[in-house]
């Protein structure tokens, strides 16, 4: 079973579908979940927790009905279970003030402007998830094929040497 999830929070169905499809290369090793607003995202987190799946990457729109993406990311940072999760904003509408808050209070790792380029999105996700699995996964081998293989192999070799 896949132990790490990517969560995409986006209110517009067309955009959500497109992001999810662009994330498909990662589907082989990661659970991909979509949520249409922050409340929905929290339900997803609840379900993931119940199933023992960790949140590896939150990919969030900013302007949504209800809570904003930045607020969601800030609230994630406040919970021990999600502090390690990589946090990326994908938005066309976050102003300077919100972005600064995301960086300072949510440890935002990356900002992707809409419209996004699929290659660039994939590169960001790959880099972020590589960081995450190196820090959090017990076994890096399942991720070598979809993430930054060279880095992961180096890490694996280091671990082997340590032992």
């Amino acid at each position: 079973m896949k132990k790490i999830a990517i969560l995409c929070v986006e209110d517009e169905p067309e955009v959500r579908e497109a992001v999810i499809r662009d994330l498909q290369p990662f589907a082989a090793a990661f659970r991909i979940e979509a949520a249409e607003d922050v409340a929905d995202a929290r339900e997803v987190l609840q379900e993931l927790a119940e199933e023992g799946v960790a949140l590896g990457l939150a990919l969030c729109d900013h302007m949504m009905p209800g809570e904003s993406g930045v607020e969601f990311l800030v609230s994630l940072q406040a919970e021990a279970a999600y502090q390690g999760a990589r946090k990326v904003l994908i938005t066309g509408q976050a102003g300077l003030e919100d972005t600064v808050r995301a960086v300072n209070e949510a440890q935002l790792h990356h900002y992707i402007a809409k419209p996004w380029q699929p290659d660039a999105l994939a590169a960001v996700v790959k880099e972020q998830l590589t960081e995450y699995v190196i820090g959090h996964a017990d076994d890096l081998k399942p991720y070598v094929a979809v993430l930054d293989g060279a880095r992961l192999m180096t890490e694996i070799a280091k671990h082997a040497a340590d032992k």
Binding site: D11, E36, E43
Partner: protein, 498 residues
């Protein structure tokens, strides 16, 4: 030396200036035995200011010009200031001339040196009395003139102060007018730009809509020629026409289907392509060739194509809707004033604000109202300013009520009510002033000109704008005449514009 001087006693001072001067001149003439008269041509300068005179000039015929140079400028004095005896004051100033004196017309003059005057005065008490009288009168005249001048100075100072006030006020008004012009010029430029952009967007959007339609049709034709095309067409059409399912519902469906299939992975993939029951899946794959995995992959591909086509066309429709609203908002193609539907303008404005309305509950209470004569573009600016301010005040969340109602045969009213914190009573009077803003230090569009421009547009349309505010409810009401502004309003606003 005979009798002492007593001009009052001899009644000299009761005579007119002219008479005393005449007396003095004839007595002097007599005492000096009619000295020769001097003739002077116009333009000849008799003496310059501060020049030593050593005597007086008596003007028998003609006119002179008296002047002083102050900071290089020639100031001309009234010739009545001195009378016909020139150099009298100089007698008391070490003989230095106060004015410069130039002949204006041909002159006949008598020149009396200080020595001659002295001699004559010693000889004639009458002359002495006359001279003292002339001096007294001259002093009196000058004193009177001095008082008048002081009064004039006071008056002039007052006028200058008033004029200064006026100038300051005018300058202030000019600055305001300039700021408004700049703002409206900016709006006009923005309007033209957006009209251009909107127009340019129409073609690509139309092409996108058509192209996606072509791809759709061609794919259907292509798949109809394949042996297992029927089931694939079905899934493509289903995905194209299906409404998007909420992520919550998808999770519920996934769980339910997982019970049926006993395979979470499969359930997830099926729900994703819009299949919610195993029976449905069996039916769709009935005539699709290949292994179960191949079948599922084909279905997934056709589903993806169907939903991508749906997304292309729904998003293109949205762009096209925004473009239309933008065009009708700016009213690129319409004349200055015409019959317009106020509610449409309000709807266009709300649509263009939609990115700020995600967390705002909108309540429209549209009573039927007639179309009114107005400039659609300008009225849209009014709605934009009021709604924009309301959203600022509410921080883009809360409730916004937009009402239209008919007041009577001749007028309608539009109310825009927000649930923001309200306007402080001390600010209520100021909000229509230029550059009044509560958006401290925030870089926003607008310079605090919004409501001031709003009011001037409404006034130009012959309407009124009012505001009532309490915490949680701020209501702007714009009243507009149905038949446009009355003639005098229109002409006076044209004067202002010209």
């Amino acid at each position: 030396m005979s009798e002492p001087f007593n001009p009052l006693q001899i009644g000299l001072l009761n005579l007119t200036d002219e008479e005393i001067e005449d007396g003095l001149i004839s007595e002097l003439d007599f005492q000096l035995h009619s000295p020769p008269r001097l003739s002077v041509d116009p333009g000849v300068t008799l003496f310059e200011e501060e020049q030593l005179l050593n005597g007086i000039w008596i003007l028998l015929e003609g006119q002179v010009e008296l002047y002083r140079r102050i900071k290089g400028e020639k100031i001309i004095f009234h010739s009545r200031t001195t009378g016909r005896i020139l150099g009298l004051i100089a007698l008391a100033r070490n003989s230095r001339a106060v004015f410069s004196c130039t002949a204006k017309t041909p002159l006949k003059l008598l020149r009396v040196s200080n020595q001659e005057l002295d001699t004559a005065l010693q000889q004639s008490d009458t002359l002495r009395n006359l001279l003292i009288s002339v001096l007294l009168q001259s002093m009196g005249r000058r004193q009177k003139r001095l008082i008048e001048l002081q009064e004039e100075v006071l008056q002039l100072n007052k006028e200058i102060a008033a004029e200064h006030e006026q100038v300051v006020q005018t300058l202030d008004e000019l600055q305001k007018a300039q700021a408004m012009l700049v703002e409206s010029e900016k709006m006009a430029t923005l309007g033209q730009l957006s009209a251009g952009v909107a127009h340019e967007l129409n073609n690509p959007v139309a092409a996108i809509i058509r192209a996606s339609d072509f791809v759709h049709k061609d794919l259907l034709t292509l798949s109809s020629r394949m042996a297992d095309g029927h089931g694939l067409q079905d899934i493509l059409e289903r995905s194209f026409h299906s409404e998007s399912v909420s992520t919550r519902t998808q999770r519920v469906l996934r769980k339910e289907l997982a019970k049926e299939t006993a395979d979470t992975e499969l359930a997830e993939r099926l729900v994703k392509i819009g299949i919610h029951h195993t029976a449905e899946y069996r039916q769709l794959t009935a005539d699709v060739s290949g292994s179960p995995e191949e079948q599922l992959e084909k279905l997934e591909l056709y589903h993806q194509i169907g939903s991508a086509l749906r997304n292309i066309s729904s998003c293109a429709e949205r762009i096209s809707g925004i473009v239309q609203s933008l065009r009708s908002y700016i009213h690129a193609d319409s004349p200055d004033s015409e019959y317009i539907a106020v509610q449409k303008g309000l709807d266009d404005t709300l649509l263009l604000f939609s990115n700020r309305l995600r967390n705002v509950e909108i309540e429209k209470e549209y009573e039927p109202i007639p179309e009114i004569i107005a400039n659609a573009g300008e009225l849209n600016q009014v709605w934009t300013n009021i709604i924009g301010n309301a959203l600022d005040a509410m921080d883009n969340q809360g409730k916004l009520i937009v009402k239209t109602r008919r007041i009577d045969e001749a007028s309608i009213a539009v109310s825009i009510i927000d649930s923001g914190p309200g306007i402080a009573p001390e600010n209520l009077q100021k909000i229509f002033q230029l550059r009044f803003t509560t958006r401290k230090g925030r870089v926003d569009f607008g310079l605090g000109l919004g409501l001031s421009i709003t009011r001037s547009i409404v006034t130009r349309h012959g309407g009124t704008i009012e505001v009532a505010s309490a915490p949680g409810r701020t209501e702007f009401t714009v009243t507009l005449p149905v038949k446009g502004p009355a003639e005098q309003v229109r002409s006076s606003s044209q004067e202002n514009a010209s």
